[in-house]
Subunit: 421 residues, 2 copies
């Protein structure tokens, strides 16, 4: 039995959905959320009455800055017919989604609610790029990070070079994360990018041929990734294809108390572990190659679930930058510290590997609409554990994990899920 | 026994504190929070080990806009030594504080935590006034309210005129709310304004005398309130002294599971009821003279607490504008709909009346640092129920209530408290 704390009640996911992630100039935060909610309604096998929902929790990073709109939760609740019930917004930078799921879970475990709607939504692309960079920088510490000129590619590049220095990690391993995630993402119709690096190379070659310009010859995907023209450096060693995009999107989860979950579906996905941690700003940390917030969160979640890292069949991790996925698979205990790159190089985290990671395409390929990203991870695990992930389905998965990080690890949140059918 | 839902576990307040509310150009959100935390530490009768705290919940409206700082909760947790434990930010406009208390309460009731720190902080005054107005307007609905040119004084003036139209409410009743709250606030050293209207009149008269300018003669406080020079109209019928100020400030509450509360103090204050509701934007509502979100929240809280409105000995209500206090005392069932003004006129809500409301001075006099306002209300109820409110102590109080509203009632949250010693 677990040594960790237990929830007062069992909680299960009984429905999940998401909007398409991408660039939608004509849509607002609320439009995206309505699309995700509608998608969720179709996923509830036995249907549900919206009146059953007792509270709504909304993950949103900063519609404050992106749209001049605060008080986001009641507005989202209004647009899906949930007035006059409680609606609460959670903001923890890029970890908002996972932490919002956690609050929904806790609300049911507390006995205050039996059925809770958990959503995440973000509309980022209507601002000019430099303003988006400023908005994202607001997640950093204004005293210790932002005012020193650090933006997020620079912060994660700092962690990448620390990992390279300590463990001899090569940029090629980072590139292989991007190659894998785009390969998975090519199979995800809801993702922002639906193209593998191989297909992208071919398309670029065909374009050049049609234009009559010199046709680039790349011997393999790594060669493409090392090409400064095709994949320019953003903050060394991170290049364009090491960075997740700016995205619009929303996700939606329906949670129910364990004892009533089968009223909604014969195949609920139980949330058996939750953990959350936080950390100092990057310059105050002793080690840049591991995220304490994630380790703390993972420990709590594993203990509550009474599961070891080896027992995780599939995971969605927070690959805002490719180095983040390497830190994730080490901090989650999937591979020893410093051995993440080797696991990547050997293909162990591919869909057919021993530890499939980011079968959805991850934030890198699926997109990173901040408040929705952590919710999108849960949607993927729901689909995978239920065997409904279509062409990207991973075989024989019963226990799943999501890992969601805010800033450079200022927040970390981990959940563990189980299929029981 | 209650017909309402019950929390899975009993939860009590075992400590509470606040910064001074006011205008502090040299302080940031985190400085204010540290001041409140320190104040809280002194309030815990038997002391506590900061290691006992298992999670931090932070209420903050928009340090995003005010300071360019998101991801507020882990930063606040860091500054009071709570890394690497979970830290979560809640934003529901002006109801953020009450809703954050509710999340802390739910976290303990769920079994995930035994001891939780709940804080609220806002730093508003460093922006130019017109930018503050824009920031506050972001709490309104950008589609239905803000884009029509409505800012908050206008929105509440609309509700005030609706109340006047339906019930014959007179501006004098609104003025009496301000007079009462400044009279109470004059006794609150932590408040932004420490001056009664009577004292303010006297001070203005003395100033004129010293300057040799004509000395204004007001026959009473109402005459002062009706003087267009002394109390100019902001959005009719609301005048300057009908509006809460722009403020900096923070508050802090220590919550513990009921079964361990007496490890911290022999006089814990139990939270016996919680309720939360939400509502459409103002233009979509059928009735402008009552807040559905508050009625829903109050019903839940009363049922959970198994208490009637008549049994509430003291309340802190959300008087962002004086009309809001009138709506509050009606929606909470203290007085019948339309009878709030009469109760005010008769002095029933004064400290020595039958239903003391806003003994702290309310947002009107104590100040309204948005994320901290709902927490400040709880601090007052803690002090009052423990008999530690000094010169503004209300006699014979055992059951208290806080009422916190977001926007024009887009969110409403109500808590009920009990002293058992």
């Amino acid at each position: 039995m677990s040594k960790g704390k237990k929830l007062g009640r069992e909680v299960a996911i009984v429905g999940s959905g998401m909007s398409k992630f991408g660039v939608f100039p004509e849509m607002t935060t609320r439009d995206l959320f309505v699309e995700a909610y509608k998608d969720m309604t179709h996923s509830v096998d036995k249907g549900f009455d919206p009146e059953d929902i007792e509270a709504t929790y909304i993950s949103n990073f900063s519609s404050d800055i992106f749209e001049g709109q605060c008080h986001t939760a009641p507005i989202m609740a209004d647009w899906v017919g949930q007035i006059p019930k409680p609606a609460t917004r959670i903001e923890n930078a890029c970890a908002s989604g996972g932490i919002t799921l956690r609050q929904g879970l806790i609300a049911i475990a507390s006995g205050v609610c039996d059925v809770v709607l958990v959503g995440g939504t973000e509309k980022m692309t209507n601002l000019p790029t430099e303003n988006v960079t400023d908005a994202l920088a607001a997640a950093g510490d204004t005293l210790y990070e932002v005012n020193c000129g650090l933006t997020f590619p620079g912060l994660y590049a700092t962690m990448a070079t620390a990992h390279m220095h300590k463990y001899g990690t090569k940029p090629e391993s980072l590139m292989r994360v991007g190659i894998k995630n785009h390969e998975n993402g090519a199979l995800n119709p809801k993702g922002q990018f639906n193209v593998s690096i191989a297909a992208l190379m071919k398309s670029k070659q065909e374009k050049a041929l049609n234009k009559g310009t010199p046709v680039p010859e790349w011997e393999d995907e790594l060669a493409f990734m090392k090409d400064n023209a095709a994949n320019p450096v953003i903050a060394w060693p991170l290049r364009l294809f090491d960075c997740s995009p700016v995205s619009d999107g929303a996700g939606c989860i329906l949670l129910a108390a364990g004892e009533i979950a089968r009223n909604f579906t014969d195949n609920p996905i139980y949330i058996i572990g939750t953990g959350q941690g936080s950390d100092h700003a990057l310059p105050e940390r002793k080690d840049l190659t591991s995220l304490t917030a994630v380790k703390v969160a993972a420990k709590q979640a594993y203990e509550m679930a009474d599961v070891t890292p080896d027992e995780i069949d599939i995971a969605e991790v927070h690959d805002c930058f490719t180095i983040a996925e390497i830190l994730a698979i080490e901090d989650l205990g999937f591979f020893p510290a410093g051995k993440g790159p080797k696991a990547i190089d050997e293909g162990l985290t591919r869909r057919d590997g021993s530890k499939p990671v980011n079968a959805s395409g991850g934030l890198k390929s699926k997109g990173h609409p901040i408040g929705a990203s952590g919710i999108g991870q849960v949607v993927e695990i729901w689909n995978q554990l239920r065997g409904e992930a279509g062409p990207r389905q991973v075989q024989n998965v019963r226990v799943g994990l999501t890992h969601n990080v805010g800033t450079t690890g200022g927040s970390g949140v981990v959940h563990i899920y189980e299929r029981r059918n």
